[in-house]
């Protein structure tokens, strides 16, 4: 499919291919590739001992573990909440639907530090929600669970916005024919809807997860940043930079970059495999 784009006949149909491709490559290079490559280059420029020393210190390992596990939990939660929200937005007409639809993007638009301060205020033992949580002996501030809450907020729109268009293109007749054939709601969901939405859902989860691993601003206000307990990986980079340990910071960053890339490549592979089966 991509190959045909380069053939003469196609170029006439899509004028300006050269220009737009050039622009895309330039843009990607200037904004994405060049900054990222500095990390790769400095990581590879290090001697292996410094590199592995930096990324295998117990404190850094703990931060990776924390970041990955909280991001994973949050993205799985987002999968459920995001799917339900997307379903509601597409399938039902109710007053305030448009406003709700617009609100979904709030985590995209809001400066993450603002979100972080909101959470910190909200969940502090004297905050609106925190006081009730305190009564049942549940505390979110300075706890991994607080990080998960922040990451759920940050990742939520990724799931909604990837799943929403796929639900919209799924005709209600599909469900109706399942019902007519005797399927109950769970069977309709499990056997028809879920397989159909799975690739989009997976994309949403992956994006939310990748974002969650890298999230900094909204987390540090609520996490308390206790070494070995609530210190996330991006914070390790900041800490190392504060100590002028540029090599260490690059090494930690490189691993984060590697995780993100692996996720995206895995995602791509899964989607291709899915596509192959049905098209």
């Amino acid at each position: 499919m991509n190959m045909t784009l380069f053939k003469g006949k196609q170029r006439k149909i899509l004028p300006g291919f050269g220009l737009s491709m050039g622009y895309t490559v330039f843009y990607l290079s200037a904004i994405v590739l060049v900054p990222l490559s500095t990390i790769v280059i400095s990581a590879f420029g290090m001697n292996p001992e410094t590199f592995f020393g930096a990324i295998s210190s117990p404190r850094v390992l703990a931060s990776y573990r924390l970041s990955v596990s909280t991001a994973l939990l949050a993205s799985l939660f987002d999968a459920v909440a995001g799917f339900l929200t997307a379903w509601t937005l597409v399938r039902y007409r109710f007053p305030g639907r448009r406003i709700l639809d617009a609100l979904v993007d709030l985590p995209f638009a809001l400066p993450t530090a603002v979100a972080g301060i909101c959470f910190a205020t909200l969940y502090s033992p004297v905050g609106w929600l925190g006081q009730f949580l305190a009564k049942i002996n549940m505390e979110l501030i300075n706890k991994p669970s607080g990080i998960v809450i922040a990451l759920i907020f940050i990742g939520f729109p990724f799931v909604v916005r990837t799943v929403q268009p796929v639900i919209a293109e799924l005709e209600p007749e599909i469900e109706e024919s399942a019902q007519s054939l005797g399927a109950n709601r769970w069977q309709t969901f499990r056997k028809i809807l879920l397989p159909h939405l799975f690739p989009a859902l997976l994309t949403g989860i992956t994006l939310a997860f990748a974002r969650g691993i890298g999230e900094y601003g909204s987390v540090i206000f609520i996490a308390g940043n206790l070494p070995f307990k609530t210190e996330i990986a991006p914070l390790m980079i900041m800490t190392k930079l504060d100590q002028f340990d540029y090599n260490g910071a690059s090494a930690v960053a490189f691993v984060l970059l590697l995780i993100s890339f692996t996720m995206l490549i895995l995602l791509n592979g899964v989607q291709r495999w899915q596509q192959k089966a049905y098209q």
């Binding site: 007749e173 109706e176 399942a178 019902q179 007519s180 054939l181 005797g182 399927a183």
Partner: protein, 357 residues
Amino acid sequence: MSIEIRNITKSYPGYTALDDISLSIRTGELIALLGPSGCGKTTLLRIIAGLETADKGSIILEDKDTTNLPAREKNVGFVFQHYALFRRLNVFDNVAFGLNVRPSSQRQSKSEIRDRVMHLLQLVQMEWAVKRYPSQLSGGQRQRIALARALAVNPKVLLLDEPFSALDAKVRLELRRWLRKLHEDIHVTSIFVTHDQEEALELADRIVVINKGKIEQLGSPQEVYDHPANAFVYNFLGNVNVFQGRIRNGKVVIGDHPVDTPHLLDGHEEKNGQAFIRPHEIGVSRIRSSESDLVGKIRDIRIMGSQIGLELETTGFEKLIEAEIPRDTWRNLQLNRGDEVFVTLNKVKVFTGDYEI
């Protein structure tokens, strides 16, 4: 299974989609619901299937009131206009779906399901596609799979909502005949919705003509075509010339041309009426065959295949008359544009009252 539709009424805000519809359908019958787009055909079908609820009335399937049953308990097969196949399942799993979702106590064994699916695929002549996905099939093939899927669960009745309308003309014709034959083999009570009068006439045991949520006429294709109950039905069942006229003493006067209408002898006062003449019920000749022939001039000739369409300008009528004659007649008469011909109105149907089209 017989279907009894009693006083079904359904309104949407500011619009009555179905207005007190009653209809009974005999076991094994193939009924066509015929009507223009938006007349409520789909709504009626969806109410029968339990996909929509009626405001009033009831649906009785074989002496059992099923009005309030949810769709999945109705055991009604539904074939949608746009197939609604499960895209992520292959043909086999699509057809097997209804059998696989049965509660385990009623579910057949894997091999029984396999046999049933293969039997149905054979019935719709699609065994070769068992491993394909819907996206790898043409529209006509998809619709046959949708039909097999609906039939797999042995539905009490089969509902088809304009199943062939998204297909091109040739495939549509083929599938129509094929469906007629299939129905003769399996005899499941069926309601076939269409807005195509030819399809209804060719396919159905009986036709129900619907307009604006009301039944206009119910009858065999021949009854409906030869004895349309009113102006709407006449007009809807094929091409027709319509002329406004005055009815007086058993004659209708169109322009300055009187036509006998023996069935409208009652009363002596003048009434408004409309005369309907089908294009193929107009004769064209080089020689005058009777006193009442009109003198006309050929304005245009359209070659439509086996029939030839003529546009005739006559002295008495202010509108052009559309006529259709067999190709052979046209060739024998050697008609050309501008020729003068004699026009015989073989069959004029007059309805009183004002009716807007």
